[in-house]
Symmetry: C2
Subunit: 267 residues, 2 copies
């Protein structure tokens, strides 16, 4: 999917919501456990219910891998089920030497047809570039994440005076551009968002941390929005686990719609 | 597996060799493609042939994931096949927020019974600590990797004067110790090895890059060995693809034995 196609979806749905499919067998409603593939059944109903309000889905690979090959099958079925006009993110935080990143790219882009994958920058250029060889696909590079431990290294000051996450973004511009690179910037850090926008005015940012982790949508929009929106704001637990009863999909839709309506105000 | 159990294996086999199972369906011998599960069949024969010379196996997750759920099944079978006294490394380069790293830990430590997993440090403490909660299991933290791109960020100088990879190792000592943390340090960087040894004199180091990537075993031993060996030296392609004919396992054994005999000299 191209940047302009993504923006067109955002305008059409008046939403820049990404729904995180962190589907946990221990948290899904009891009544689904009797179905043939409870994880897929849960995802299917969540997708059906939230599709009018969201432009992206982000399965978190760890949740599927924790179930072994069965989990991967549920993920493959989920990816087959998601309509082509929706942007898909493999939240995998991968990154390895060239020949290995090649294999991950094959897994996510060729086999499962994801539009994008989250990549950790620590191993540098040759760990990221293999993903950038696919036309129409995206790398979403970890920059300033939303978790507590993000302060341990990402905010370290370099001898040049800048912080590590700023250097990561700057360096990545030698590898790709606003048409194949996005960045993860946590909603819990609006001050970082302002700095990121100075370095990459045109790039899309994937923003986790609104909701369960405490970030504010208004602050995120103020600090991070550009003239093509430039934001995908993710919510996972706040939507998919809004209810653990038989009405889980209906309640998920209500939460997604709430966010979509707030987003429409900012667009 | 504990540190002393690992050292006991090293003494018994006079080897600190780790065989990397980067099993690529496009590179394994033709005649295996007719078997029911070619990837597992290849691994099984490689393991049978190299077991006398190696103390560790390191499946590279990307190669299995690139085959989808079938690849995962081959990996699960491989893990069931490897004997308990051999140290196993899930080369996965994972690392995510706490609840997600929990899931990866479950996947690798509980479901597949790996002894260790490689973890990327970029997201900090809460991305690494969930893996350290498992008694007898290990995190192998990326420090100074063997690839070209490692220079992009790992060798950045901080305002304190140290390099990022040194700071990563120092900080990790607040999370774990030589009994549950190892570090990846590339064989292509013996000068970094010397610095790493000053910070973590007792810790095991996983050393990729001998062989295909050009590192020297003698230099690695000189710079990195401690009184409990303290090294696991990995070779992947140089061993498992020593021949692409029907004699692949035999030739793999010869290459593994060559390395083992060199290692015996240094022990």
């Amino acid at each position: 999917m191209t940047r302009s196609e993504l923006f067109a979806q955002i305008q059409k749905k008046k939403s820049f919501l990404c729904v995180g499919l962190d589907t946990d067998i221990k948290k899904i409603p009891q009544h689904l456990l009797d179905t043939e593939d409870p994880i897929f059944e849960f995802n299917k109903q969540i997708i059906d219910a939230t599709l009018p309000y969201t432009v992206a889905y982000k399965p978190n690979l760890a949740f599927y891998e924790s179930l072994g090959s069965k989990g991967l099958i549920a993920l493959e079925k989920t990816m087959d089920y998601i309509a082509d006009e929706v942007f898909t993110i493999a939240d995998a935080k991968r990154g390895d030497i060239g020949n290995t990143s090649d294999m991950y790219a094959r897994a996510f882009f060729e086999n499962m047809n994801f539009d994008s994958v989250t990549v950790a920058p620590y191993m540098g250029n040759d760990s990221v570039s293999p993903f950038l060889q696919y036309v129409g696909k995206w790398v979403i590079l970890l920059a300033a994440t939303s978790n507590k431990g993000s302060k341990d290294f990402q905010e370290l000051k370099l001898e040049t005076g800048e912080m590590l996450f700023e250097k990561v973004i700057e360096t990545s511009l030698e590898w790709g551009n606003a048409d194949n690179l996005m960045y993860v910037v946590g909603a819990t850090r609006p001050e970082s968002l302002v700095n990121v926008r100075k370095i990459v005015p045109d790039s899309f940012l994937l923003i986790p941390g609104v909701g369960a982790q405490g970030g504010s949508l208004a602050e995120v929009c103020k600090a991070g929005m550009n003239d093509q929106c430039g934001l995908l704001v993710n919510s996972s637990r706040g939507i998919i686990y809004a209810s653990q009863g038989e009405d889980f999909a209906e309640k998920a839709a209500i939460e997604a719609q709430k966010l979509q309506m707030q987003m429409a105000e900012f667009l």
